[in-house]
Amino acid sequence: MQVVSETIDHAGIRSRRTRRPILWTPWLMLFPALAGISVFVLFPTLAVIGLSFTHWNLLSPHPAWNGMRNYQSLLSSPDFWTALLHTGIYAVSVAGVILPAGFGIAWVLNQPLKARNAYRMIFFLPYVMPLAASGIVFSGLLAPSGGLVNVLLGRLHVAGPDWLGSVHWALVSVIAVTIWEYLGFYMLLFLSGLQQLNPALAEAASMDGAGSWQRFWAVIFPQLIPTAVFAGVMVVIQTFQAFDQIYVMTAGGPVTATTTLVYYIYEQGFQFFDIGRASAASVLFVLLVGVITLIQWRGMRRWGGDPS
């Protein structure tokens, strides 16, 4: 967690012998990783930035220079803003449930509670499911007639909607799967944070007795900030990249109800083959994720981060 504050450069070990290994060994060891990252991440990133200023459908031999027009048309396109809005709703809802719930459960399961290991296992279990598999299971549960959810609602004399077919409920359904899938992971993250607390401080701030909330905020919470920020960064990355469950459950529909930014990029790129527009959207997407992550790291430093 001390990553940002103290990145690198502790002067390495100076070998007392030849200078040779110092020159070449590090680069040889770095080479496979750097080659892979350069070919499949860094170079493509430059390519996407370049392509975002062109018009190209992949089939014509060369991209044609298009200036800022992709960005202009993107920023004036309601579709793009809708996709952005859906990404925002999706991320905020998932984070809004998963972070407090994950923390709450972790807190409880950090107490000397009977069967807490069984609970931990149960909550973590969905995380090992492929998202596509979870998506399909939830499609079955949410089937408009005969799906378990609507059958249960029927017992309560509530007519359940066509969850995945409704523009109002489809995104909610996708959010529900995501929460189900990842809750256990965040619980585990927070558990790890809680277990790294200074035991004496943790004891002092146990839930029992008066003033425990104040003690929690004053003593425990600052220690948990790095964990919380890490969880926040993870949840942003995970939710912003969501694709698999949307692909199997709704394919971005109905209408565009579940078209998130990533899905929008996929559609523009691989459905309409509008490479310029997809690339411009990708650049904005990376910038957005980058800015949010940066704010989170900054926030950590500011609010008493770096515990080391």
Binding site: I8, L152, V286
Partner: protein, 275 residues
Amino acid sequence: MRKRRSLWVWHLPLALFSLFMLVPLWWMVVAAFDPMRALLGGHLALWPVQWKLSNFAAAWKSQPFGRYYFNSIVTTIAIVTLQIATSTLAAYALVFLPFRGKRAVWALVLLAMMIPIQAIFIPDYLILSQLNWINTYQALILPFAASAFGIFWLHQAFRNVPRALVEAMVIDGASPWSVLWHLVLPNTRPAIMTLAVLNTVFHYGYLFWPLLVTNTAAFRVLPLGLSYFVAQQSGFMQWNLMMAAVLMTVAPMMALFGLAQRYLRAGVMHYGLRG
């Protein structure tokens, strides 16, 4: 004592939450064994009308699931192995070896970590098609053979290896390889295992990338095979066959979870953040 007893209160919400987590899994199992009719009857399908194994046979036959298993397992193992090998080497160099340009390399790693593949899949696809690798194992594996996150993760873990020990070994004339193998790796096993398990879960379940770079059943992996199974039923879903297929897909991960949960818990919990 009073404190212990009051903890009992938590069992009710925890049990309810557990129910929320387990019902989808339980429904999956029930549906996988159920004859179709029972699911459509509109009754509360929490217990199958009969335990029918034939769903699994029918699902297995309807798609080349044997091939999917093979592809999933081969690509997952290859990705995880390669990624750990490349990340270990790179992280070692970054943590223990002095060289010019270290800051720049580290900056590149952090930059790469910020770029999701969903943003750069178009050039990646074009690179693979230039190499004539579309619809091959290379296309499934090699883009993930190196990972900025893997380097980052192991970098954090390696930094906790006592520097004095490393220096002592170097002064005794040990090669970087020997330091890595005899000192660093044994000391960071939980972190490496955690990376391996998290990666396995992620790549075994990954749909997006295989969807882009494969064209034929011969190279599809399990999650993609599932999505084709859904599509092939074109809306007239036979949920029992579907869930049998899902259960077959999920089973290896559940088994792995059973085996590796010790590592996962220990790893994520003790190493995940401190690293």
